[in-house]
């Protein structure tokens, strides 16, 4: 993971809006980040902050309209995904980029068996024969810890439990051994023991194949265990980005700090009442002109209303390479 390694993925200024009856929704505004081979980027942030929309925009998974990817560049190796034809993009999605969706029931097809759905990419992109693909499908299900895989591969999605469906999704995403895996809340429906097993499996593939992983989750325990770097989103923007230890031990953005304060733990004193971040997130009906967190922030001052803060380095490294934050307050507090 030396800094010289070429990035697998380099996203610059990604901006996505939805056209709705009530006007535009600016779900993602000028988001930039990158990933190197074998690296895990954790993505956290408020519900509705644009995590899923960002990742779906990267690989052309949003229906257009209502969505419009208005600006940006998404380099996968040397090619810009935003400039590709739909056919090329669909080939990239199956073979080079695996995607685990947040909602397994909507992305699995209820009328086909699981075997059918795992074999499809294997036949299309890996050049396997049907018997080979079937054998591989069972192997993949075993890998994600589905008991009795040889039998269950013949089942339909509704015959699986919530967590099993999620693991079927993971198996499909890993089927073609992609360079990049985008996993949107891949373990939310899994108990901790199977979660641990899936995390170990992914770490293993990451080592063996150099697979890079983008892991969206609200579970900061998972982030602590797997991420190399963390990107924090709020109101469609990246508000903080840092190596994992920095996020947990030296958070800069008031939203990140508030987020860390709200986690209940399994050890220590049990709180009578959980702390919450008061107020509601903004509905972004226009490009941001003020800090999106301003209305809920304890440190707001005039400038936060007048100017949307840009990301700036905290540790002297270039933005996107070390620790950076988009906040007027923490930036000024440091320089004061």
């Amino acid at each position: 993971m030396s800094d010289g390694a070429a990035p697998v993925l380099d996203v610059r200024g990604l901006t996505t809006v939805f056209h709705t009856r009530q006007g535009e929704i600016h779900a993602v505004s000028a988001v930039s980040f990158g990933l190197k081979r074998g690296e895990v980027l954790g993505v956290v942030g408020e519900s509705g902050s644009g995590k899923s929309v960002t990742m779906m925009s990267l690989v052309g998974l949003l229906p257009t309209p209502p969505a419009e990817v208005r600006a940006g560049q998404v380099m996968l190796g040397t090619r810009d995904l935003l400039q590709m034809t739909p056919q090329d993009l669909s080939a990239v999605r199956g073979a080079k980029v695996g995607f685990v969706f947040q909602d397994p029931m909507t992305s699995l097809n209820p009328v086909f068996t699981v075997e059918n759905q795992i074999c499809e990419p294997l036949l299309r992109h890996m050049g396997l024969t049907k018997p080979q693909a079937r054998a591989r499908a069972v192997e993949l299900l075993e890998m994600v810890g589905i008991p009795d895989a040889a039998k269950r591969v013949k089942y339909y999605p509704h015959q699986f439990s919530g967590g099993m469906r999620q693991r079927v999704m993971i198996a499909i995403a890993l089927a073609c051994e992609p360079d990049l895996l985008i996993a949107d809340e891949p373990t939310t429906a899994l108990d901790v023991t199977i979660q641990a097993q899936i995390i170990d499996l992914m770490k293993d593939l990451q080592k063996k194949l150099g697979m890079a992983i983008i892991w969206i989750t609200h579970d900061l325990g998972v982030i602590a265990g797997i991420a190399d770097r963390v990107m924090v989103m709020y109101g469609g923007q990246v508000v903080e980005h840092a190596p994992v230890d920095q996020i947990f031990h030296n958070p800069q953005h008031p939203y990140t700090r508030a987020l860390l304060r709200t986690i209940p733990t399994i050890t220590g004193q049990r709180e009578a009442r959980l702390s919450v971040i008061e107020g509601q997130p903004p509905i972004m009906t226009a490009p941001p002109t003020a800090c999106p967190f301003g209305a809920r922030c304890a440190h707001t001052f005039d400038r936060c209303d007048a100017e949307n803060p840009q990301r700036r380095a905290v540790d002297g490294q270039a933005v996107g390479h070390g620790h950076d934050v988009a906040c007027h307050w923490s930036a000024e507090a440091r320089h004061a």
Binding site: G48, P104, Q159, D219, G225, L259, T262, V276
Partner: protein
């Protein structure tokens, strides 16, 4: 004091099997024993946490309780009425008092209905509110779960995963039910909104005396919200203990392994902690082991476990555990409290 409070929910010998058909003649060749002989009670105003491995039968149990499935066997009494015996009209009348927050928010929301009609539907069905009163109630529910009122006319696909989950919660709360099965109600939410929803559930419980079955794989949140916790494994309850006792000292070897796997929200501690990794195969619920369901993976397995299913034994402090180590009739090394730790039984511990 505990005995003085009545049980709102009594479950006795509940079984929920899904038939398996095979061969060209689609003959009934066996059953998936998703819930296999489960008994427990929930006191009025109590929160019972339900945790356990993915696929162990939690959602099926929740659905069978509310008669969203027709149970294979057993009795479920909710608020004095045997739910399994209710006829169509009586069941319809009972529905408003028992609700479910579904695990899969997308699948449980009608894609062609706006947010306000989704939340308002049960109000139309079961109350006599005027249109204006109904709208007010819908807004109130949206405020409670942190959904912006301006979202009222949006459709499900226009929401993020966490926003959709909150729609399901608002709908379950609409009719002021007495008993709610919350199936992973906060799994797709960020921690702040999780906290907001959990605080809301607790406030409603304090105010209205609601009773919850709270299904979750998030053991820290279960520790926060539950009074007692049931741990399930392969269709059966293996331990049912008061919260603090379970977290301080899990008795069942599976409960112990489960608690050891919790992710610490701290990268430094995450690198150094000890996890009990379960080895061995997870058996299929269509073909569970002859003895204890956990015997294929248990680090403390001994001869008796392979041949005989342990029943739920009552142990000290109102705890129940289904493990031969705790059999009061045949005390073994473990039944006096601490765990037996013979060297050769430690093969499950690694890292």
């Amino acid at each position: 004091m505990r005995e003085a409070v009545s049980d709102l929910v009594q479950v006795d010998g509940l079984k929920m099997y899904f038939p398996v058909y095979s061969g060209v003649l689609r003959r009934h060749s066996g059953d998936i024993k998703a819930v296999d002989d489960v008994s427990f009670t929930i006191r009025a105003g109590e929160t019972l946490g339900l945790v356990g491995e993915s696929g162990c039968g939690k959602s099926t149990l929740g659905r069978a309780l509310l008669r969203l499935y027709e149970p294979t066997a057993g009795r479920v009494v909710i608020d004095g009425e045997d739910v399994a015996l209710l006829r169509t009209e009586a069941l319809r009348k009972k529905r408003p008092t028992m609700q479910m927050v579904f695990q899969d928010p997308q699948a449980s929301l009608n894609p062609r209905m706006s947010l306000s009609s989704i939340i308002g539907e049960p109000l139309v069905e079961h109350t006599a509110l005027s249109t204006a009163q109904r709208q007010e109630r819908i807004y109130e529910l949206m405020d409670q779960v942190g959904l912006n009122r301006r979202f009222a006319n949006r459709f499900p696909h226009e929401f993020s995963g966490g926003q959709r989950q909150r729609i399901g919660i608002a709908r379950a709360l609409a009719l002021n039910p007495k008993f709610i099965v919350c199936d992973e109600p906060i799994a797709a939410l960020d921690v702040s909104i999780q906290a907001q929803v959990v605080n809301l559930l607790e406030d409603l419980q304090d105010k209205l005396g609601l009773t919850y079955l709270f299904i979750s794989h998030d053991l820290s949140m279960v520790r926060h919200i539950a009074d007692r916790v049931a741990v399930m494994y392969l269709g059966r309850i293996v331990e049912l203990s008061p919260r603090d006792d379970l977290y301080a000292r899990p008795l069942h070897p599976y409960a112990e392994a489960l608690l050891s796997a919790v992710n610490e929200p701290d990268p430094v501690r995450a690198r150094t902690r000890q996890r009990i990794l379960l080895k061995g195969d997870l058996p299929s619920p269509a073909n569970p082991p002859k003895g204890c369901n956990f015997c294929t993976r248990c680090p403390k397995v001994f001869a008796r476990c392979l041949s005989e299913k342990p029943s739920l034994f009552q142990v000290e402090g109102g705890r129940q555990v289904a493990c031969h180590l705790y059999d009061p009739a045949k005390p073994s090394a473990g039944s006096t409290g601490g765990f037996p730790h013979p060297k050769h039984l430690q093969q499950g511990v690694s890292e």
